[in-house]
């Protein structure tokens, strides 16, 4: 935590840089470094499906649009092997692999405007003020889009997903115990792909139910650590647990489960989060933007449990 003097020095430095035409780039670069670090740390979409940087050369040109598109190959299904008697030949199948298109859109924060002389009176870190609100809004939008797609893939609670022939969104009765959580982890491997859960996503209320587990349920010193220090990101049941405070997206007693990102789809980042800052006379304006695209190409690596 910087001291008040350090914060004021930071603000003055930023203003000096924004004041001098040659120094504006340094000011923007400093804010962008800070912004991109925060983006990497705070969004659960980015932690479940880390963004892959894509360059212009990797985009696939289309005849019906001049907007960026990336075509991704999917692993094709193949007929099962069969046992046959001698002197019998195998059946033929012609190789065709499915593909899907990943398209892109832009996430942009609202544009903030302010008279710089009014900003001079703030003693908080202006860089943090600039970035934090924007980042919070952009991550919320990104995470919300991701969970909307996941919800669409796994369908309604209790409904069979046509692609897998299994129910990937289940209610598990019995509260949040070692038994019910392990039962939840069985949902994904029941699909024909037999993926194992790599990441669990719960909110910061639900995780407290896990923290109630005693030594007999959680096991030895781990239970003791949680009682002393609370939950910190760690592996449990061979899964990475991500805890979000976005309780409006991940509701209480809900647990989303994800296989390895390579079994889910693609998350491409065409333009990383960038802060646009401009000062014209005494008016300062700034906003953040990014260009990204993503698709879930395989839905068997997704599951959800709601504990009742």
């Amino acid at each position: 935590m910087p001291t008040k003097q350090e914060v004021q020095l930071l603000n003055e430095t930023l203003f000096e840089q924004l004041d001098s035409p040659g120094m504006q780039k340094q000011a923007v670069d400093a804010v962008n470094d800070f912004t991109r670090t925060k983006m990497r740390e705070d969004g659960f979409y980015r932690r479940i499906m880390p963004p892959l940087t894509i360059t212009n050369d990797e985009l696939d040109r289309q005849v019906d649009t001049d907007k960026p598109v990336k075509i991704v190959d999917k692993e094709p299904d193949s007929p099962a092997a069969v046992s046959i008697p001698f002197a019998t030949l195998p059946i033929n199948f012609y190789i065709r692999g499915p593909r899907y298109r990943v398209m892109f859109d832009r996430i942009v924060s609202p544009r903030a405007v302010k008279d710089v002389d009014e900003l001079r009176t703030y003693v908080i870190d202006i860089r943090q003020v600039l970035s934090d609100n924007m980042i919070k809004d952009m991550l919320a939008e990104e995470d919300s889009k991701f969970l909307a797609a996941v919800d669409s893939a796994i369908g309604d609670q209790g409904a069979e997903v046509a692609l897998s022939g299994t129910v990937q969104n289940q209610e598990i009765v019995g509260g949040i115990t070692r038994e019910t959580v392990v039962d939840a982890l069985k949902i994904m491997p029941q699909t024909p792909s037999h993926f194992e859960v790599e990441t669990c996503l719960v909110n910061n209320i639900t995780i407290k139910e896990l923290m109630k587990w005693g030594r007999d349920e959680m096991g030895g010193d781990f239970s003791q650590d949680i009682i002393r220090n609370g939950w910190s990101e760690t592996n449990l049941l061979n899964c990475r647990w991500i805890v979000t405070i976005k309780t409006d997206l991940v509701l209480n007693n809900e647990m989303y489960m994800f296989a390895s990102p390579k079994f889910i789809g693609k998350n491409y980042e065409l333009e990383p989060t960038t802060m646009y800052i401009r000062r014209e006379a005494f008016m300062l304006e700034y906003f953040a933007y990014q260009t990204s695209g993503g698709s879930l190409g395989h839905t068997n690596g997704l599951a959800k449990a709601t504990f009742a």
Binding site: T65, M103, S295
Partner: protein, 195 residues
Amino acid sequence: MPGTFLGITDKGLDVKKGWFDMASLDYSAKPSENTVTAGCPRGRCVHLDTLGKFVPGPHATGCAIFLLNGTDDADVSNPGTTTAGSFAHIAVAPTGKMSGLVATGGYEIATTEFVSDGKTYNPGDALTATKVGPGAAVAATDGQLTPGTVYHHPIVGVVSSGVSPNHNGVSSLSFWSVWLPAGANAAAPWDGTVA
């Protein structure tokens, strides 16, 4: 489908004057379900329904908006089910949002989306847009500019230089965006339809 695709230059909205800068009056929203089903290309005139979603055509009091993106544009929609019904993917992005310019902004616009058959467009003529009927119903032709009657139809623009090929050779109608709600003439109220 080979041979039936819509080319990049077939549908368009060029803003000759008034856009872009940070103060431009644009608006973004998702289209209504019926709009997605019928399809609505860029350049069409839309309004907001009571849910805040774009619906093609004019509205008695809802301000006209001219689309910068169509429902099928790659930054709006990425359908993940094939026409045969097979699963391909589920898009995380884009989310279906479109954007357009609000008619009360000061713009001169050239759009490919107007009724060309049997209509004349002279400088100063008032424009409205086609609408199959009042309510949520949407036709694939809704939202094309067409001559309108002042104080009867909702007026969404006034012809500037008229009809000419744009830089891609596609016939376009140039007009200034304006907004005049439908008239409250009790003798001949607007019925929500523009042929």
